[in-house]
């Protein structure tokens, strides 16, 4: 699911930055981490920017059918 992936990606990004900051990695490893990190950044930003505002109303009629309609909150 996207939500866990976002959260996981963010956590991975954090740990990548921490690892790189520690300076214990070799250049090849750092490069690899960097690539992964940039991927995560892109991924997280995409998720943040891709969602659209949507406010709906979920109701169930007497006959049991479920209806999703826009919710007028203005």
């Amino acid at each position: 699911m996207a939500k866990t992936t976002f959260e996981t990606a963010l956590k991975q990004l954090e740990s990548i930055v921490k690892e790189m900051e520690s300076g214990d990695l070799a250049l090849e490893q750092t490069l690899k981490k960097y690539e992964t990190g940039i991927e995560k950044v892109r991924y997280c930003m995409e998720i943040l920017d891709s969602t659209e505002k949507k406010i709906t109303q979920l109701t169930r009629d007497l006959d049991g059918s479920i209806k999703e309609t826009p919710f007028d909150h203005e």
């Binding site: 866990t4 976002f6 959260e7 963010l10 250049l27 969602t51 949507k54 406010i55 709906t56 909150h73």
Partner: protein
Amino acid sequence: MLDHETAHIYSVSLLTREIKTLLEDQFPFVWITGEISNCATPASGHSYFSLKDDQAMISGVMFKNQKRNLKFTLESGLKIMGLARVSVYEPRGTYQLIFEHMEPEGAGSLQKAFEQLKNKLGDEGLFDTVHKQPIPLLPQKISVITSGTGAAVRDIIHVSVRRFPECQLEIVPVAVQGESADEQIVCAIELVNQRQQSDVIILARGGGSLEDLAAFNSESVARAVFASEIPIVTGIGHETDFTIADFVADVRAPTPSAAAELTVPEKKYLKQRIDDMHQDLLSIMTRMLTFYHQKVDDLHSRLKSPVQIMTMFKQTLISLSLRMHQALQRRMFHDKDRLVWVAQALKGTVPDIVLSRKQVLDQTHRLSRAMGHCVIQKDNRIQQLAATLSALNPASVLNRGYSIARTLPDKKVILDARTVNIQDPIEIILAQGRVLTRVEKTIHGKDHI
């Protein structure tokens, strides 16, 4: 007649004490309900009143200490339920109820029900933290179970949109109070769970009395909240209100707005956080690359080709030979100087034989010349002296006619007439022979011939 010997006669105090013991043992604590009348609170702060119902009345007291915990004021006409112990006041032979706890009867039952349900569900472990699910950091879709009208839903939408303008909210309208409220809430929770489209549920309601919040204190709602596989955040009533649903929920927020704050992340902050990390990644990478670049450059510059090494040796060689040459030259100059100096010194001390020989010759010449000169001179002198000598020879004087007179026998030459006397013998020496005679006369003074 009363038999004083056998009959048991009580004193007033003894009887009173036994009654006291009897009552207090029998009714250590009782729950009692009734209406308060004749309530009085003197300066001591204790409250004295009567508790009555249709047919009976008992005196009651509640001491100042216990009154502290009351959430209402004691007053006549109030129906209460309370916990009391029965006590006998010996000096006046009256009995009374000493109240430990008291609450208005209507609310009391609700409160009691609340406590009972809370204890029951608590014992079952519904409130245990092990069951609490974490709220996702960035929920894609949020279901809001609350009244479709009213402040709560607007507050939630307002806060959510402010924090994350592109959030997806799904309002599931329910009655939040009244007969079917609990049933509707349970259905809504189940519906959202069936659809499996939402990442989190907000269960909310604005503030209200304990009665108004009844649905949220119901067992069915509590169990539905517990059963929900989707994490539930509650925002019910005001900050001070606690409902059973709050205890069971995964996260309890004090108000509907707070529930939205806890559920919806702030987009600006999230973006900032990712941006910061992005910058960190870039700067770390740049730093590292720069570092390795410099290192490689450095190593490269230190990596020497054979030509360079040869050149270096050549230069060393030239330099050394130059130095050697210079050193040698310096040494030679130095030695030369020294030689000149020593030669001069030597020259100064060795005698000049040629010169000396010449000098010796010169001196010899001068000596022999001087010697010759001197001999001639002396010869001349000798001849001169010989001439003089021959001139002075008495014989030659005598030859020229002169004679010499001498006294006899002294043979002293007579130069003055006064030295001789008449008749003195004298000798006269002539050029040929001598004449012996006597002095006849003396004439004194100078008498030239």
